[in-house]
Amino acid sequence: MTTYIIRRLLLVPVILFGVTILIFGMLQFLDPVERVSMYIRDTPKSDAQIEALITKYGLDKPIYVQYWKWLVGDVDPITNVRSGGILFGDFGYSRTNSQPVADLIKNRFPNTLDLTLWAIGPVIFVGIWLGIQAAVRHNKPFDQMARIFSIIGTSLPTFVFGLLVLMLFYANLGWFPPGRVSDEFSKIISSAEFTNYTKLLSIDSLLNGRFDIFLDVMKHMVLPILTLSYISWATFLRVTRSSMLETLRMEYVTTARAKGLSERDVIHKHARPNAMLPVTTLAGFSIVGLLGGVVITETVFNYPGIGATAARSAAQLDVITVLGFTLFTGLILVVSNVIVDVLYAFIDPRVRLS
């Protein structure tokens, strides 16, 4: 298995290299003036300044020079200050948000993380539970209901669902407002008396002993979490159900029954561990799904995470900002995929012991 994990890890730099090439390739569609903002920390003031920057970062040089400068940036020989260089975490300057993209990520990503962390648990466990129940009750009413739920779930686009729940639970009932936190609390949060331990508001509010803030934060997050989760529920349900149905037809399940085990033990001790193997892989993909899903969900709910920011920047054709975000999430995904693959190797003895 060690070779398997090493091979998997060696793939990471390869994929990351590919991702940078792909994004750099897309950048080539922009004219140099636009690309200049990759390397600077504030808005350029004059044409001459832009010209100087183009020369400085080799944007008139051959493409491999450009790529290299894009990766490592440029060190000023006099001040010894590095500017640009995505490898050093400098993703350029966001024109529409008037701040460096890296800072933007630092500010917005905790909000997105807060949201996805709350969503991911329910997504995985509820989906798997539903799928197993549906498979065990194959073709019975529960199974039919689960199937209908799953089809409707996958047919309700996030932006429609989000707007519908917003109409119902906010506009009509007034229960769950959009946004991040109520105005009365946002001042407290930015003040000195509120310590940011994790930057995840839901946790920090508890750590500061402000249960009222926690409640308010959760009130704002209920609808986004629900919106983010339900499509994944449907997917998990479907994959778990079909994997479980397949497993239940295996001969070793008949063996288990022939041993006189109760149906409960047959399902939970013999069938489920096998049925979970393909679901593990799905868990990796669902992280991709969630991070993609935040773009629309956050936009619908005016939730200040990286998704909503990316969408707003894209609508204003601020490519650099979206690029930074994409590179960043791409990195997260590469890492989480590796984790899932290694996890899979541990769960399946056939892989673990080879």
Partner: protein, 331 residues
């Protein structure tokens, strides 16, 4: 082994190793020695049975002879020409003379082609009959294998296993080959169907003067159909001789054990015979034992068996054995 005009096929030291790649950089760390130095010849008009357990390399031997795999070493002389040296078009044209019948009648027929297209394809790709006459030819071929020619426009899935195998046989016959490799042609069929196909193969052999290499794991069926039989174990032939000679006077301990393991559909005879039960499993062909391949399971193995590989030698006229102690069983 000397060959003369009677010899249609001569296989000399045929070797087929499939590389194994392992490790972080997928370097070749070894090879599955599926076929490891196999020599035999097949005379015109005879049936040579090739028998052995699963994984012994018998199917690979058949496929390598037909150059479906490029052999690692060795030569295959067919009708005086070395097939291993042939390439591309030359080999393609040569295929007219040698055909194959497959084990699985469900997998070996393209599901998207009709019986007529399947059986007619060899005629078309080799341009042996004018396109207009293909259909007529196919009908004739179907009759030859006892299939109703009215079904020529149907698809394989409309037929039962035995009927599909007949379609496969008709396709193999289309180019009027002189040599057919039968790769376990009956082992996927129901018991009551097996005899139908075997009888048909025998009839066709008489009718068209065919030469068969009949590959099987079923010793009783091989005995029934073959003139001579070769026994394979772990990539090598351990014994080769005439069918009666082999079954009456097996000289290799593996052949003896194999024969005694075959169930006989007769409780009285079954109770009377002597059994040799082999211990353990067949070793992996990726890591075969040193010296004699069979020594790990052999009841009479001695120290020298681990040191050198016993030569495949002619103990009696026409009786080849690869065992140091073959003479012990010569009564």
């Amino acid at each position: 082994m000397t060959s003369n005009n009677d010899t249609l096929l001569k296989v000399d030291d045929l070797t087929m190793h499939f590389p194994i790649y392992r490790g972080v950089f997928q370097r070749q760390v070894g090879a599955v020695r599926a076929v490891d130095g196999v020599s035999f010849e097949v005379k015109r008009g005879e049936t040579l049975g090739l028998v052995g357990e699963s994984g012994c390399g018998k199917s690979t031997t058949g496929r390598t002879i037909l150059q479906l795999y490029k052999p690692t070493a060795g030569s295959v002389t067919f009708d005086g020409q070395d097939l291993v040296k042939m390439k591309g078009e030359e080999l393609r044209i040569m295929r007219r003379k040698m055909q194959m019948i497959f084990q699985d009648p469900y997998a070996s027929l393209n599901p998207r082609m009709t019986v007529e297209e399947l059986v007619g394809e060899p005629l078309i790709v080799h341009n042996v009959v004018p396109p207009k006459e293909v259909s007529e030819h196919v009908k004739h071929l179907l009759e030859t294998v006892n299939l109703n020619p009215a079904f020529a426009s149907r698809y394989p899935h409309e037929f039962s296993g035995g009927q599909r195998q007949r379609i496969g046989i008709a396709r193999a016959l289309a180019l009027q080959p002189s040599f057919i490799v039968c790769d376990e042609p009956i082992s996927a069929l129901d018991v009551s169907i097996q005899a139908q196909v075997v009888n048909l193969l025998e009839e066709l052999q008489d009718q068209f003067n065919l030469t068969y290499l009949f590959i099987a794991h079923d010793l009783s069926m091989v005995r029934h159909i073959s003139d001579r039989v070769a026994v394979m174990y772990l990539g090598v032939i351990v014994e080769l001789t005439g069918r009666d000679e082999l079954y009456n006077k097996p000289l290799h301990p593996y052949t003896q054990a194999l024969l005694s393991a075959v169930p006989i559909p007769d409780p009285v005879a079954d109770a009377q015979r002597q059994r040799t039960i082999l211990e353990g499993d067949v070793p992996s062909p990726a890591n075969p034992p040193s010296g004699c391949r069979f020594r790990t399971r052999c009841p009479i193995a001695e120290a020298r068996c681990a040191e050198a590989r016993p030569e495949f030698r002619e103990v009696e006229p026409g009786h080849f054995v690869a065992c140091f102690f073959a003479e012990r069983f010569l009564k």
